[in-house]
Amino acid sequence: MGDNELDRALVERVQKGDKRAFDLLVRKYQHKIVGLVSRYANNHAEAEDIAQDAFVRAWRAIGSFRGDSAFYTWMYKIAVNTAKNHLVAQGRRPPADDIDAEDAVFVPGSDRMQETATPERELMRQQVEQTVFAAVQALPEELRTAITLREVDGLSYEEIAEAMQCPIGTVRSRIFRAREAIDERLRPLLSDREDQA
C-alpha cells in the first residue's frame, strides 16, 4: 500500500462515515493546502479561512469522490475553486496563472511568492527544515539510509529491504526509529508555533 493507496483507504473509511480518517487527511495535507491558497489570500489568517472552507467542502463532497485521481489532486481543485470563489465574493480578481492540478503536487515556494507569509512564519519554516536535516545527519548510518530511501527516493519497505539486505520488519523499525529521532528535535520547535502572527 503506497501513499496514494493509503489516501484511498482513508477516503474509503471517510465515505463510510469515519471522521477520524478525514482528520488524518486534514493533518496530512493542511500545510500544503494552506500554502496553496496563500497565493490567493492577502494574509495567513485569510489563507487559513479559505483552506478551512476548502476542507469542509471536501468533507461535504467526499461521497462523490470516485478515486479516479489522487486524493490530493481532487483536494487541490477544491481548494483552488474555493479560493477563487472567495476572491470573487470579495470583488477581487483571481490570478490568471493557474497551476495545472495534475502537476501541482507541490510547487516549492509558491506560497512564498506572495506576501502572506510573515517573516516569523518564513523563519519558522526554515528552522523546521534545518532541524530536520540536522536530525537526519545525526542519525546512525542504517537509520539515515532507511529514512532517506523512503522519504527522498520514495521506495517501498520491500524495496528498501532488498536494497539494504535486511528483513522488512527491520526496515519498518529503522524508519520508525529515524522518525522518532527527528521528531524529538522537532517537537519543541513545533509546539512553540501556536498561533504566530
Binding site: M1, D3, N4, E5, L6, A9, R13, K19, R20, A21, F22, D23, L24, V26, R27, K28, Q30, H31, K32, V34, G35, S38, E48, A51, Q52, F55, V56, W59, R60, F106, P108, S110, D111, R112, A117, R121, M124, R125, V128, E129, T131, V132, F133, V136, E151, V152, S156, Y157, R172, I175, F176, R179, I182, D183, L186, S191, R193, E194, D195, Q196
Partner: protein
C-alpha cells in the same frame, strides 16, 4: 512496549493492511498524542523532501474538524425540518386527495349545475361525516331507470363508486348531500351505479342558499 507509534509510522508509509489501519484509526480516537505525532511526522517528511510550505497554525486541523462537527449538526437540523415539512405536505396532500374524491363523488358535471349549486355542494361535501355516513339504511328495491335518465347525460346523474360487496349496503345509499341517491344498481365487479336526481340537488342547493341568506 507501545507499538502504536511504530504502527503509525508504517501506516504513514501505506505499509499496513486494511485491518491494521482500522485498528490504528480506532486507537487514534483515544490517543491524541498519536494524532499530533502523525502531524509532526508529515512535517518532517515534507522537510526531508524540501517541500515544506509555510506551516499552518497548530490549531488549524482542530478548527477544521470542529467546523465539520458543526456542519454535521447544522445539516442534520434542516433534514429534521425537511421531514417536518414533508410530513405536513404529505398530510396536506392526503387531505386534498380526500377532498377531491369527495368532490368527485358529489359534484354534478352536467350542464344543469349552476355556480351556486357547485358552491353549495363543495361546502357541504367538505363537511366531515357527510360523505359516507356509517349508519346504514335499508336497501331500497332496485328501481327501474327513470325517464329523466334516458334523455340526459348520464354523467350528470350518476357516479361510480367502489365499495366492497358483502352485506350489500352501499354508503352512497345515504344521501350524498346535496344530491339524493335515487337508486343503487350493484355491478358484477363490486362497484355500484348510483342514480342521482339533479332536481333534488337543485332544490337542496336553493334551500341551502335561502338558509344562508336568512342567517345573514
Amino acid at each position: 512496549m507501545n507499538h502504536h507509534p511504530e504502527q503509525l509510522s508504517a501506516g504513514m508509509d501505506g505499509e499496513l493492511t486494511g485491518e491494521e489501519l482500522r485498528f490504528l484509526l480506532r486507537r487514534l480516537d483515544h490517543d491524541r498524542s498519536l494524532l499530533v505525532r502523525w502531524e509532526r511526522f508529515h512535517v518532517a517528511s515534507a522537510g526531508l523532501r524540501r517541500e515544506l510550505p509555510t506551516l499552518a497554525t497548530a490549531s488549524f486541523a482542530d478548527r477544521v474538524m470542529r467546523a465539520i462537527e458543526d456542519e454535521s449538526v447544522v445539516t442534520s437540523m434542516p433534514r429534521a425540518r425537511r421531514h417536518h415539512w414533508l410530513r405536513l405536505t404529505a398530510g396536506g396532500a392526503i387531505a386534498a386527495g380526500v377532498a377531491v374524491v369527495a368532490l368527485m363523488a358529489s359534484r354534478p358535471t352536467g350542464p344543469v349545475a349552476s355556480d351556486a349549486q357547485s358552491a353549495a355542494s363543495v361546502a357541504q361535501a367538505s363537511t366531515p361525516g357527510r360523505v359516507a355516513s356509517p349508519v346504514p339504511s335499508p336497501l331500497p328495491a332496485p328501481a327501474a331507470v327513470p325517464r329523466w335518465l334516458s334523455n340526459s347525460n348520464p354523467m350528470s346523474m350518476t357516479q361510480m363508486a367502489s365499495y366492497p360487496q358483502g352485506d350489500s349496503i352501499s354508503p352512497y345509499e345515504q344521501s350524498i348531500s346535496p344530491y339524493r341517491v335515487k337508486a343503487t344498481l350493484p355491478a358484477a365487479d363490486g362497484s355500484y351505479l348510483l342514480l342521482v336526481d339533479p332536481g333534488t340537488a337543485r332544490q337542496s342547493a336553493r334551500r341551502s342558499l335561502r338558509e344562508a341568506a336568512a342567517a345573514q
